[in-house]
Symmetry: C2
Subunit: 340 residues, 2 copies
């Protein structure tokens, strides 16, 4: 309970006033020097004294104080909640961060786990970000958007399938992933198509539209579509494989390559011929899918590069009105290999 640790820990944090004192100038001068303010001329000797004083004290400006005074920040908030859904997503995310930083934004990922839409919006709004890019982990409400806007956010950008008043939507056309897969299976002659729906929570926002896409493709061709729940473990896959023949499915879109690999292996172990008896196609074009035999067919997804999205964010911040309300973010196409 000692009040005075022997460490340097209790030393107060140096402020610009401390620097000013040590350099024998005013706080204003310190600010001018450290920010290289163009509108004012400071003599070289003074500049040096200020710089040395700052260095000696280990002075670092206080971002909160600065942005409080400025009345705005350049913080872009990227809320995160669920576990990321794959390498693709991850790469995209990183590119976006990097590109935003190049545009001089401070990128802050804010963990919003366990908050519902409006609570989350409040929490974000407290940080007064200039923009919020919601990757869809938290379901934003119109009211939540309103809160953010009123707290000064110039742009609220949703990525994914949400389309909300007052936001800019960057659409990831997940339905298209399912549609092209479905069309492919129909074209190669499948009449009863299964669609793997992961049992793992948090993936609905992808799996739902993908299933719907397959349905669209099947419609009119007289092809049946059946959702097939599957957990990401061998047991679940083996169970499914054991009951496979009863279902009479001759084609399956397996959500993504990982589920596809898991299912394909289980089906093979159960003696089902791929693609002869059942054709299998995944998505994401993972390298690992090419290692199985037969090689896994897949839907390759091209995501807009992060830099592009960063520019969109920047534009939305500077002039929200000039932005189109919706913008396409990805496109997808079938890569046929040997499993279909």
């Amino acid at each position: 309970m000692s009040q005075s640790p022997r460490q340097s820990a209790e030393r107060p944090v140096p402020t610009s006033a401390d620097v000013a004192r040590l350099a024998g100038v005013s706080r204003a001068t310190v600010s001018y020097v450290l920010n290289n303010t163009a509108a004012v001329r400071i003599s070289e000797p003074t500049r040096r004294r200020v710089r040395e004083a700052a260095e000696e004290l280990g002075y670092v400006p206080h971002a909160a104080a600065r942005s409080l005074r400025a009345g705005h920040s350049r913080m872009v908030l990227l809320p995160t909640a669920q576990a990321p859904v794959g390498p693709l997503y991850n790469r995209f995310f990183n590119e976006l961060q990097w590109a935003l930083r190049r545009l001089d934004y401070t990128v802050v990922q804010y963990g919003s786990l366990g908050l519902d839409g409006d609570e989350a919006a409040r929490a974000w709004a407290e940080l007064r970000p200039v923009a919020v890019v919601s990757l869809g982990e938290v379901r934003l409400t119109p009211h939540g958007v309103e809160i953010l806007k009123r707290s000064g956010a110039k742009a609220v950008i949703t990525v994914g399938s949400q389309r909300l008043e007052g936001t800019h939507a960057l659409v990831m056309d997940q339905a298209r992933v399912g549609r092209v897969a479905g069309e492919h299976l129909v074209a190669r002659g499948s009449r009863r198509i299964g669609v793997v729906v992961p049992r793992e929570p948090g993936l609905e926002m992808f799996s739902g539209p993908r299933l719907e896409g397959v349905r669209q493709a099947a419609e009119g061709a007289g092809v049946t579509v059946e959702p097939v729940p599957l957990g990401y473990d061998e047991e679940s896959a083996n169970e499914l494989a054991a009951a496979w023949r009863e279902k009479g499915l001759d084609g399956v879109f397996a959500y993504n390559d990982e589920y596809a690999m898991l299912l394909m292996r289980a089906l093979q172990d159960a003696g089902i011929d791929i693609p002869g008896e059942t054709a299998v196609i995944g998505s994401d074009d993972l390298l690992l899918g090419r290692l199985l035999r037969p090689r896994l067919s897949t839907v390759q997804i091209d995501m807009v590069i992060g830099r592009h999205l960063a520019e969109l964010v920047d534009r939305a911040v500077r002039d929200p009105e000039s932005m189109p309300r919706a913008h396409d973010l990805m496109t997808s196409r079938v890569v046929r290999r040997e499993s279909s």
Copy 2:
């Protein structure tokens, strides 16, 4: 260039003063009510008026102003730079975030791509975090640590292999991963062991210690160890496989399961028998590794759960002196399947 957009956008952000005005009370009262300050009693009618006013205006407190006044924040900074290195790491990271939020910290991931140690430390220090948990993507210097401490960070925690004055080190014993893999290969009779070193940048901080660990295991047993560069693509793997026999390697630790799967497939395609001619072992115990034939042997890594680390952070913040300087974060053991 119009000064007055037709939108609600230009409306100024409501402050507690606005709420006070609307409710017909002082700013102090607003603060008391909204924070449920226990030390002061406010009449119920007043409370209601304040709450309604806040609601009506869409008032959200300004976090920066608050922490400026308070003199401290509860922000834990998690710098990020490189792409995350796998699902394991990711899960850990998410758990940590979640657990910290449960302890009422605000978790902020700050993208530090392209900043060197001291620049990064400065940038972080501007945010005045109460703690920094560096996952090792940015190489911290002693000077950088000093900057952070002086800016008020109660704890600087490094995860990984760095061990720095003034920090708490959470050790991830990557060398052990290599060592157990090496010991396993030696025990099963390998005399010339290859160690895959990914060509992809940003993985050195894992691959280096892992290689070193294999060397430790080989040492004294009279077993040779040879680094084997490999890029994460089929071409690179095939090239390597074509030249494999010249190397005369009878065992290989393939960095992780993904590289192991890639390599194993290429070796098999080149007619090399696994594990007869060369034994293969990966690490991370990915589900997908169990889908190949032979099933992939692996090093399973158990990471300390995020909650545990979060408690460590909390303790370091409250009483830095009571913390051990170093703390073990993970342990690993071989899971032998069929490839070794």
